[in-house]
């Protein structure tokens, strides 16, 4: 099988400070990879570099997505190619309604692929169906994007957008943080409903709990900018029990 994503010896940082210190990771279609690790270890930075945030500077290494160099693409080109990031802190955009934004987004991606815009009724149907998937009330469509949304509503809105855009590679950055038990289950069910043999997900989380719902194929531990350990889903349980300190002390860290 041809890998969907190959990260090879990626080093990146910001303002002259190195944050990612040589990361290698291969994700195949159909797989779910979880990335765990202490605060400040570089998880969001990795997500930002993958989605093309320009403040972060790639020092060396490469990222290949679907056989193409991902790093040379603009953020919108990555989205158009099927990369999606659910943000840890989605921004509030006053004055842009959620519905208008999602329509613009979906049609921009369709246009880049040479597809016609969805006709309004098909679009509306799709919106209603995908909102139901994450149990988000349709009244949110008329509200300004994320403005005044609760923490949990913002996260559900991210998954709703993911459901609308049907990405090939989804990077979920702490989508479970700030969710109550019910919302966690709802979001996880939404994510699972979107899994296909052709797409893949990178799930960044602090909590093993999420991985009971979204069962990962591989769990990685990111510490101080490096992936120090990988394992199956049981690794998450072990981390939950033991924390991260043992990884610092037993010589696994280079």
């Amino acid at each position: 099988m041809k890998p969907l994503l190959i990260i090879d010896q990626l080093r990146a940082g910001i303002e002259g400070r190195e944050i990612l210190k040589g990361i290698s990771l291969t994700v195949n279609p159909g797989e779910v990879h979880a990335i765990m690790g202490p605060n400040g270890s570089g998880k969001s930075t990795l997500a930002s570099v993958l989605s093309g945030r320009s403040e972060y500077e790639v020092i060396s290494g490469s990222v290949t997505y679907n056989g193409e160099d991902l790093l040379e693409k603009a953020p919108e080109e990555r989205a158009q190619a099927g990369v999606f990031q659910a943000f840890q802190y989605p921004v509030e955009i006053p004055g842009v309604s959620t519905a208008n934004f999602v329509r613009t987004s979906l049609n921009a991606i369709r246009a880049a692929r040479g597809e016609e815009p969805l006709d309004p009724s098909a679009f509306l149907m799709r919106m209603k169906e995908r909102m139901a998937l994450v149990e988000l009330d349709p009244s949110f469509l008329q509200r300004s994007l994320n403005e005044g949304f609760s923490g949990g509503e913002k996260k559900r809105n991210e998954i709703f957008q993911m459901a609308m855009l049907e990405p090939t590679l989804a990077i979920l950055d702490e989508t479970d943080s700030g969710l109550d038990i019910d919302a966690l289950r709802i979001v996880a069910n939404g994510v699972n409903a979107l899994r296909t043999p052709n797409n893949a997900m990178v799930v960044i989380t602090h909590y093993q709990r999420l991985l009971n719902y979204i069962v990962p194929d591989v769990v990685h531990v990111l510490m101080d900018g490096q992936l120090v350990l990988s394992g199956n889903k049981d690794l998450a349980l072990e981390l939950e029990a033991k924390g991260y300190d043992w990884l610092r002390n037993d010589g696994v860290v280079a």
Partner: protein, 394 residues
């Protein structure tokens, strides 16, 4: 008599009925303004020289360009319409049932530092080619908005149009007025307007002034409003293009319970200038004002926002809020925002703020990460910034 009392008196309807109407038309009620010294447009320009409030205006060029501009004199045949008033080059051509063309109107009491003291106000008050008064009778809710088209057309020569408009909502009435300034022609034109608004007790006036001017047309206009007990005035200054637009707005909250909501949106390109000077005058206790002016400035355009809030010694329990927000999108675009709060009463709630910035990079990245191009993302954010003001339009 103090200036304040004088103005309150002037705000009152003079008399009702046909006779009163006729008296006003014949100019018996009030003497025309007899301001000495400002008989021509050039006099008005000269009177602003070296004045702080006019420092962003190229005054010398106004005299060169309009020094011997023509004024239309032909009194047009008056057509009638249900909702649309048409004034061309200062001459009324079409009016509505609630409107009258007057021969003279009350003098404007000059309060220093406000639109009422502008030399252009004085000039138009004395020299307007027409005075159109719209009067909405007591307790009448006018459903259809009134559109006043103020057209300045310099197809054969350089023209000045001087128009005076009076909008009077009698007690308990309500009305929406769109005053639309536009024009055409190959010669330079100047559109001068003085609009007076009287919002009587318990009435509501929504007044939107739209300026969307062609390259050859400039506008200098004053709006002076009196708001009485529990009356509500909404104003909207929509500056959507034109080489030079100057709006002086003066709102007097004259009786308790009066409310004023001042809105503004400027969207400018090239070398366009929009110069907005507003004054809200809280004269008595328990009045409320809320002001928001926004601007989007591309290229080398320039916005000026000078917002005064005066809270007079008697005006206890005033609430007055003001804010201006600008987006500078051109390398050489400028905004000069100057809030001025002068508060003489102690039991008041007032706030003001001015922000100037570019588009939010976080928001742009978020939109791009969802597939929008940089241009689409910028356009969406600019629209969102402006939309709030469009949503407020009546």
């Amino acid at each position: 008599m103090s200036a304040q009392e004088h103005l309150v008196q002037q705000g009152q309807p003079v008399q009702q009925g046909h006779e009163a109407q006729q008296a006003r038309e014949e100019g018996h009620e009030h003497p025309a303004t007899a301001d000495v010294g400002i008989a021509t447009f050039s006099d008005a320009v000269k009177a602003t020289f070296r004045h702080e409030e006019w420092k962003y205006t190229n005054l010398a060029s106004l005299i060169t360009t309009f020094g011997d501009a023509e004024r239309a004199t032909k009194s047009a045949e008056l057509a009638s319409s249900d909702h649309r008033i048409l004034i061309v080059n200062g001459i009324a051509e079409q009016i509505i049932p609630e409107a009258t063309v007057l021969a003279s109107a009350p003098a404007i009491e000059s309060v220093p530092g406000t639109a009422s003291a502008s030399p252009f106000t004085t000039y138009v008050a004395a020299e307007a080619q027409c005075i159109v008064e719209v009067r909405i009778p007591k307790n009448t809710q006018r459903e259809q908005p009134i559109v006043i088209d103020v057209v300045t057309n310099g197809s054969t020569r350089t023209m000045i149009g001087a128009t005076r408009i009076r909008i009077i909502a009698e007690e308990g009435a309500s009305v929406v007025v769109h005053e639309k300034h536009h024009g055409s022609g190959s010669h330079e034109c100047m559109d001068l307007t003085l609009t007076e608004i009287v919002v009587h007790a318990n009435s509501t006036v929504q007044y939107a002034k739209h300026t969307q001017l062609p390259e050859m047309l400039r506008h200098i206009g004053s709006t002076i409003a009196h708001v009485h007990a529990h009356g509500t005035l909404h104003t909207h200054a929509m500056c959507l293009g034109g080489p030079y637009v100057r709006n002086d707005l003066y709102i007097r909250l004259e009786e308790s319970g009066a409310e004023a909501y001042l809105n503004g949106l400027s969207v400018l390109r090239g070398h366009e200038v929009a110069d907005n000077h507003t004054t809200v005058d809280h004269l008595v206790p328990r009045c409320h004002s809320d002001e928001l002016y926004k601007g989007i400035y591309y290229d080398a355009s320039m916005g000026i926002f000078n917002g005064k809030v005066l809270v007079r010694p008697d005006a206890q329990k005033t609430t007055a809020y003001q804010s201006s927000r600008s987006l500078l999108l051109g390398d050489r675009a400028q905004i000069n925002a100057k809030p001025q709060l002068e508060i003489w009463a102690d039991d008041v709630k007032c706030s003001h703020g001015a922000t100037t910035g570019q588009l939010d990079n976080e928001a742009i990245f978020y939109l791009r990460s969802r597939g929008l191009t940089l241009e689409q993302a910028r356009a969406l954010l600019v629209d969102a910034f402006a939309q709030e003001m469009y949503d407020r339009l009546p």
